[in-house]
Amino acid sequence: MLRFIASRLARAALTIAMVVTFAFIVLRLSGDPAQIIMGADAPPEAVDAFRTAWGLDEPIWVQYFSYFWAILQGDLGRSMRDGRDAIVLVTERIPATLALTLPALAIKICLGIPAGIYAALHRNSLADRVVMIIAVAGFTVPSFVLGLLLVLVFAVQLGWLPSGGQESWRHGILPVITLGLGGAAVLARFTRSAMLEVLGQPFIRTASAKGVPWRAVVTGHALPNAAIPTVTIIGFMVGTLIAGAVVVESVFSWPGVGRLLVVAVANRDLAVVQCILLLVAITMVCANLIVDLLYGLLDPRLRAAPGKAA
């Protein structure tokens, strides 16, 4: 078990290091931050001074290693825009993003899983078809289209809800629904196919042949098995709690991490972009770690037998 966790942690660290490196390379290759921040017609001396101030005149590998070294010491750098610590800039946006993504995750789970189970249990019924059509639509319609559609109907036409901003909880309703519906559709599809797969297994027939009432066959025998693949998808969704709302935050002008990312990329505000990417990588890696541990809990076949453990 210790060995399992150690190898997982090592892999997680490697993943994060790769994300950091990748972000560094892409950002440095995609334009000169000094020029962009100072503006196209800034005097060359000013741009040079900016470069020296931020260490941009050093060779690229020196920049990379000093950046990496700083991260290892917990220093994520400062924003080139206003000189504040990147980590502070980013963390103060996290509550706003979570205010969208956490309720959206609840919608995904509370709507998607029961819908998927119901559809599987009533396969080929009208309800199943309706659920599947909605699920496929939710799967294929991009979130900005769905978001704009909701704005058109509920903000512009009906005037029930605001179309953007963050002044009250009512401003959060449309973005949360936009995020939640799309994810619920994905989860419904996965849950349905996981359930169908399990319901076709011989052990389900064994349970019925034993005299277990159908309800108990579903809850006691089918669900615990169908939970195994479903947890992967939920884990993936937990991994996107921080970064999963970039598009929706932009559509609804919601001042979360996603919007900060868009602005920071446009400005080549390197430290901020890298800080966000690091945060995203850490969230995803943690979510994966949790999924792996849950797998072991849900599926005894993945648990090392006592004594047999390597």
Binding site: P202, T206, S208, K210, G211, H221, P224, D299
Partner: protein, 325 residues
């Protein structure tokens, strides 16, 4: 009075017939074999009787257990019958057990349903059942998961689960097909032992006439969704009357040789959606005459407890010399 009688039991999937009128009675305490090639409807017969087929299956006919009609019976009745009066075990023991539940839990679940046993009482009864079916170190095995046991041991666990409800009838559907030969013999021996000690009625389904011959007193031969011959085992071996049964016997290896699968009859089973109008065996039959295509032959008695569904039975069953000139 028979324990279970099936009358005119028919099943169709999406319009294709899988069973076409099964008539079969099982008396208390006897062991009946059900043989026939894969796909002839052996499993469907008993799954239909217990209401275990998917909803799309169209079922007609009657299955009566001790005066109680099972076809169309409400779920509450069927749930008492399943495992409590008729238990069933299946071909592939590894996938027939729930991979995420411990062995003990899968046994005590049946004990709770049919014998109201819970807690420590259920656990010690589960241990007794594992001992009974020959699982070594039973109390430790209660906490094992199916993937930690071998195929043969899993089939023993399936038998323990089946015994938990103290059923009157055990339907064993190809219980040894997925196991290797030495384990096969052990499981068949276990079934025989249990029957002797508990007076349990047994229906043994197999595609292997040899397996059935060792364990049963009576055998019903199925072909393309119908029973074509039914006789005591000894009679079947000495005086098989249906050309298909004769083909099966001809395909058996010599008594002391190794067992083979039955496959030596030329031709193939007709597809369910393209059944011949008359006798389903006609396309493969050497004794076929024009009348064979006119209608489906019914089972007719030939001798005490020997019935056969063949129009040409006089020509097929009798040795050539005894046919009057």
């Amino acid at each position: 009075m028979p324990l279970v009688s099936l009358t005119g039991l028919s099943v169709a999937f999406d319009g294709a017939p899988a069973l076409r009128g099964i008539d079969l009675s099982v008396a208390k305490g006897e062991a009946v074999g059900l043989v026939g090639e894969s796909g002839c409807g052996k499993s469907v017969t008993w799954l239909a009787a217990l209401g275990l087929l998917p909803n799309k299956a169209r079922i007609s006919g009657s299955v009566v257990l001790d005066g109680q009609e099972l076809i169309g019976a409400p779920p509450a009745i069927l749930e008492k019958v399943r495992g409590g009066r008729i238990a069933m075990i299946f071909q592939d023991p590894a996938s027939s057990l729930n991979p995420v539940h411990r062995i003990g839990k899968q046994i005590t679940e049946a004990l709770a349903l049919h014998r109201n046993m819970v807690g420590q009482a259920a656990r010690s009864e589960a241990k007794r059942l594992l001992d009974l079916v020959g699982i070594p170190d039973a109390s430790r095995r209660l906490d094992a998961y199916p993937h930690e046991l071998s195929g043969g041991q899993n089939q023993r666990v399936m038998i323990a689960i089946a015994l938990a409800g103290q059923p009157e009838l055990l339907v064993a559907d190809e219980p040894t097909t997925a196991l290797d030969v030495t384990i096969q013999a052990q499981i068949l021996e276990l079934l025989k032992d249990l029957r002797r000690h508990m007076g349990m009625t047994l229906v043994l389904i197999s595609h292997d006439l040899g397996v059935v011959a060792d364990s049963c007193e009576r055998v019903a031969v199925m072909y393309a969704g119908r029973i074509v011959e039914e006789a005591p085992i000894s009679r079947l071996f000495s005086a098989a009357a249906h050309p298909y049964t004769q083909g099966l016997l001809g395909a058996l290896p010599p008594m002391d040789g190794p067992r083979r699968r039955l496959a030596a009859i030329p031709g193939g089973v007709p597809e369910p959606w393209a059944m011949p109008p008359g006798c389903a065996f006609a396309p493969r039959c050497a004794h076929r005459v024009a009348a064979c295509d006119a209608g489906v032959p019914g089972l007719i008695p030939l001798a005490a407890s020997h019935r056969v569904a063949c129009l040409q039975v006089a020509q097929v069953a009798m040795p050539r010399e005894s046919v009057p000139a």
